[in-house]
């Protein structure tokens, strides 16, 4: 017996030492040694096993790897004295090759069997399983064989757990899954074991197809839940079952929870990443959101898709994809489903919408606008759950300020974020996972990397109560805001403006839907308006402080006024009962600025406020009932105050008397003699160049210009000149708010109830 063993050992060693050209024989001749007494040997692969990857025979590492693999196949040599050293050496070889390049599927086959058959101790098995990283694919047969080893019961509990974790992590690399699906019942039975339950649930979640959902399985799951309580992994599986067969499950599942499985692939994460990178071709140009599917279905062994977003691949059997025509009976029968690769146009989507089976890789919908339409209309919780789950996992993994070592992946991550933002724009709503990701990663954000994408994600935050969002988002954003450059401040203001716009659009649509269906936003109109006005007030505070920090920069003021341009028209444009004025810090900075375009913008905004407030007043009178949305007289008072100040400055040459009041003595101290006219349309510092060019236009040969000569008739010509120079805001403001009469006065809004 022992001689036989030694003989075989010598034989195997001879083969390995024959040199590189005979590697074929080493791998193909693996035999399983059950028992020294049992001389039966099972040789698996034939002699003609193509070991194609090992073309380059001179590689030292390859030889060492084969030796190592051969060593493991043979099993532990009980008699050898330096057993541990050789074992360690071979283990290290395997690990090095695995982590560097990945293992070929045949090697994974052999090593899986070795690890699960219990020939070596627990520690060795763990190490082997931890380094089972595929170079290309994992063959389905190896997995099936491995599972059959589990039935023999030769490996320990912790090895089993590790195996299932490995299976879940490498699920995407298994080439076919039909045979594994046949083992569904076996996996299901494992749910009984407490230690394995979460991982098996995850595996089943990935594996389940419609035909796997049977009543007895549902009952079993519900029993388990009753025993163990509401575990997230059980919930996940139940929701998936509910998606496939809603009639079988009457239990209501919680809506909010969207993240179920702990990330069990941590161990292999870095290696998988490296692998994806290796197999990726040159980085692709940014894709537009195409109407059809993005690529032709690639060969099974080519992994040069976008590294993050999986390629669209229907989960149905490949044999069915050949059919072009589908009869009605096919459509009605449950087993037939429309292959997603053939989905090219919108009419096709509409025809096949009832028998569309979503891909097992939910992430691939991001690239296809048709599928985005589909998941938007279907409104099935589990579909969205799967999608959000994938999205949150991928965002977490790919986020570059978590992966401090891999900072170079900035480009990839930016592209990924771009795709998400495009999808959000397309669907006109934000994703829950993105929101959660924002809240979590905002503290660590430095404000520079992926800045525009990040701020765009901020603008897509779904509507919710402002006081909830404030501590999560705005406090940290404010920290960044106040300590950053002026450009960052402007970008933030812009994205807050877009956020406001999105919220207003949702709310205005919501109001119209209110009488028909229950409001999806679950808030009352009053609560929503409250939230929006809080946001606007908050931005007002941010702006005022920012102006102080940046010493009244006009660049910043432009962005602030842009924001208020949106705010002033809420009542008329969005039909929402809300009017919020801008804070005095902004008003007076704009009024006294040195830039004519700022003043122009300010005039335009004042004009729009005027229109909105008069419309609101009219509606109030028409309705005659006291509703909660009647604006307090304070708003009108404030507006009139601003209006009088503005007209006083610009038009009537009586600044600082009626609106904002400054004691004349203080004004004397400034040393400006003629302060009364110094802020009107002619003498205002921002209009000075216009005044001068107007005068020069009239009489170009003049050497000196006297700006004060613009009065009387010239004044109206001067105004026309200003309007022709593009100061439309000024024009609208003067036409609407200033009364041309001998006694010029401001057209304030009469806020008493008698009109």
């Amino acid at each position: 017996m022992s001689s036989q063993k030694r003989g075989k050992n010598v034989q195997a060693q001879n083969r390995t030492s024959q040199g590189s050209n005979s590697f074929q024989t080493t791998l193909s001749a693996w035999k399983v040694k059950q028992d020294p007494s049992n001389s039966k040997s099972i040789s698996k692969h034939g002699e003609d096993n193509p070991v194609g990857d090992y073309e380059h025979a001179d590689d030292q590492a390859e030889d060492a790897l084969q030796m190592a693999v051969g060593y493991f196949e043979k099993g532990p040599i009980k008699t050898s004295r330096n057993k541990d050293k050789t074992l360690e050496k071979h283990l290290k070889t395997v690990e090095n090759v695995a982590w560097k390049n990945g293992l070929a599927s045949e090697e994974i086959d052999i090593l899986l069997n070795v690890a699960l058959s219990g020939k070596f101790g627990n520690a060795v098995n763990t190490r082997i399983l931890k380094c089972m990283i595929p170079a290309t694919v994992i063959s389905e047969d190896s997995v099936v064989k491995a599972v059959s080893w589990l039935c023999v019961g030769k490996c320990s509990g912790s090895t089993k757990v590790l195996f299932y974790r490995w299976l879940v992590a490498m699920f995407d690399f298994i080439d076919h899954k039909e045979q594994i699906n046949l083992l569904y019942g076996f996996f299901f039975a494992l749910l009984q074991e407490d230690a394995l339950c979460p991982y098996v649930c995850h595996l089943l979640y990935l594996l389940t197809k419609k035909e796997n959902v049977k009543p007895f399985r549902v009952r079993k799951l519900l029993d388990l839940q009753a025993k163990m309580g509401m575990q997230p992994h059980l919930q996940a599986l139940l929701s998936l079952y509910k998606f496939f067969a809603p009639a079988l499950i009457s239990v209501s599942l919680p809506v909010r929870k969207k993240i179920y499985f702990k990330n069990s692939e941590n161990l292999w994460k870095t290696a998988l990443l490296a692998m994806k990178q290796r197999n990726q071709g040159p980085s692709p140009e940014p894709l537009k959101l195409m109407l059809g599917t993005a690529n032709v279905r690639p060969l099974k062994r080519k992994w040069n898709s976008l590294s993050v977003i999986p390629v669209l691949n229907s989960s149905s059997c490949t044999k069915e994809c050949g059919k072009k025509e589908m009869s009605l009976s096919d459509c009605l029968s449950r087993s037939r489903s429309f292959p997603l690769e053939q989905l090219q146009s919108f009419p096709q989507l509409l025809q096949n919408i009832h028998c569309l089976e979503l891909p097992s890789q939910m992430g691939s919908v991001l690239n296809s606008s048709l599928l985005l339409h589909y998941i938007n209309c279907v409104r099935d919780e589990p579909v969205l759950l799967r999608f959000y789950y994938w999205l949150s996992q991928t965002l977490q993994e790919e986020c570059i300020w978590y992966k401090v070592n891999n900072y170079e992946h900035g480009r990839e991550f930016t592209n990924f974020l771009d795709t998400i933002i495009r999808a959000e724009c397309f669907l006109q709503e934000g994703f829950y996972s993105c929101e959660a990701f924002l809240y979590k990663s905002l503290p660590l954000w430095d404000g520079l990397c992926c800045r525009s994408q990040f701020l765009q994600l901020v603008s897509w935050i779904p509507f919710s109560s402002f006081s909830e969002v404030k501590p999560l988002l705005f406090d940290r954003l404010a920290q960044l805001f106040f300590t950053s450059t002026i450009y960052f401040k402007c970008s933030v203001l812009q994205s807050l403006k877009e956020l406001l716009q999105n919220w207003l659009l949702w709310l205005s649509m919501d109001i119209h839907m209110k009488p028909v269906t229950n409001s999806p936003l679950e808030t009352t109109l009053g609560g929503s308006m409250n939230s929006v006005s809080k946001l606007i007030h908050y931005v007002g505070c941010l702006s005022t402080t920012a102006m102080r920090l940046e010493s009244n920069s006009t660049f910043l003021l432009h962005f602030i006024l842009d924001f208020y341009e949106k705010v002033c028209d809420i009542y008329i444009n969005y039909n929402l009962p809300l009017v919020v004025l801008f804070p005095p810090g902004i008003f007076y900075s704009a009024l006294l600025s040195l830039d004519a375009s700022i003043l122009n913008q300010l005039c335009f905004i004042m004009h729009r406020y005027h229109k909105n407030l008069t419309a609101a007043k009219k509606n109030e009178l028409v309705q005659k009932t006291k509703s909660e949305f009647n604006f307090s007289s304070k708003t009108y008072q404030e507006f009139n105050h601003y209006l009088t100040s503005m007209v006083g400055c610009l038009w009537t040459s009586k600044p600082f008397e009626k609106g904002i009041y400054i004691d004349p003595k203080i004004l004397e101290n400034t040393g400006v003699a003629e302060y009364k006219k110094s802020l009107n349309v002619v003498h205002h510092p921002s209009f000075l160049n216009y005044a001068v060019s107007f005068l020069l236009q009239e009489s170009p040969e003049e050497r000196t210009v006297n700006v004060s000569s613009i009065r009387g008739k010239k004044w109206s010509w001067y105004l026309d000149y200003l309007f022709s120079q593009g100061l439309q805001g000024l024009k609208l403001f003067i036409r609407s708010s200033v009364h041309h009469s001998s006694v010029t006065r401001a057209e304030g809004i009469n806020y008493n109830n008698q009109y």
């Binding site: 978590y402 406090d475 300590t483 450059t485 010493s551």
Partner: protein, 146 residues
């Protein structure tokens, strides 16, 4: 930080712990930044001890905490909550930055220089205390459940 453009002269004094030796003549200190490495418990201990030597008037906006290493959660031996509580106790802002990455360092340097400008009084109309009230956030809900 020294690479940043600044209108007036910027001086940085590095120290491993406080108190600084009092024998040296040094210019007025405008901002103290405590750098805490989340990967080492010793760093937190050191900071807590040094805090005792800081004069109370500095806590009106001239102290800030900088936590580094928060990106790699697996290596953190100090929980983020601990540092948040510390900042809250001393009523000072807490910033996060992974100082190992060049780009993050550069942006954080910009930020600190801007804070320093305010604390030194170079920005009219904004005082250090003012800035403090802007930067401090209330103790928000835990983000663990996200």
């Amino acid at each position: 930080m020294l690479k940043e453009d600044c209108a007036s002269e910027l001086k940085v004094h590095l120290a491993k712990s406080l108190p600084l030796p009092s024998s040296v003549n040094r210019p007025r200190i405008d901002l103290i930044v405590f750098v805490i490495n989340l990967h080492s418990k010793y760093s937190l201990q050191n900071t807590e001890e040094s805090l005792r030597h800081v004069d109370a008037s500095f806590f009106l906006g001239k102290v800030c905490f900088l936590a580094t290493g928060a990106g790699r959660e697996s290596h953190c031996s100090i929980h983020r909550h601990t540092v948040v509580k510390l900042a809250h106790t001393y009523q000072s802002p807490l910033l996060y930055c992974d100082l190992e990455v060049e780009a993050f360092r550069a942006t954080m340097a910009q930020r600190l220089v801007r804070m320093l400008q305010v604390c030194a009084g170079h920005v009219p109309g904004v005082s250090a205390l003012n800035l403090l009230s802007l930067l401090r956030s209330s103790e928000g809900p835990s983000l663990e459940d996200m």
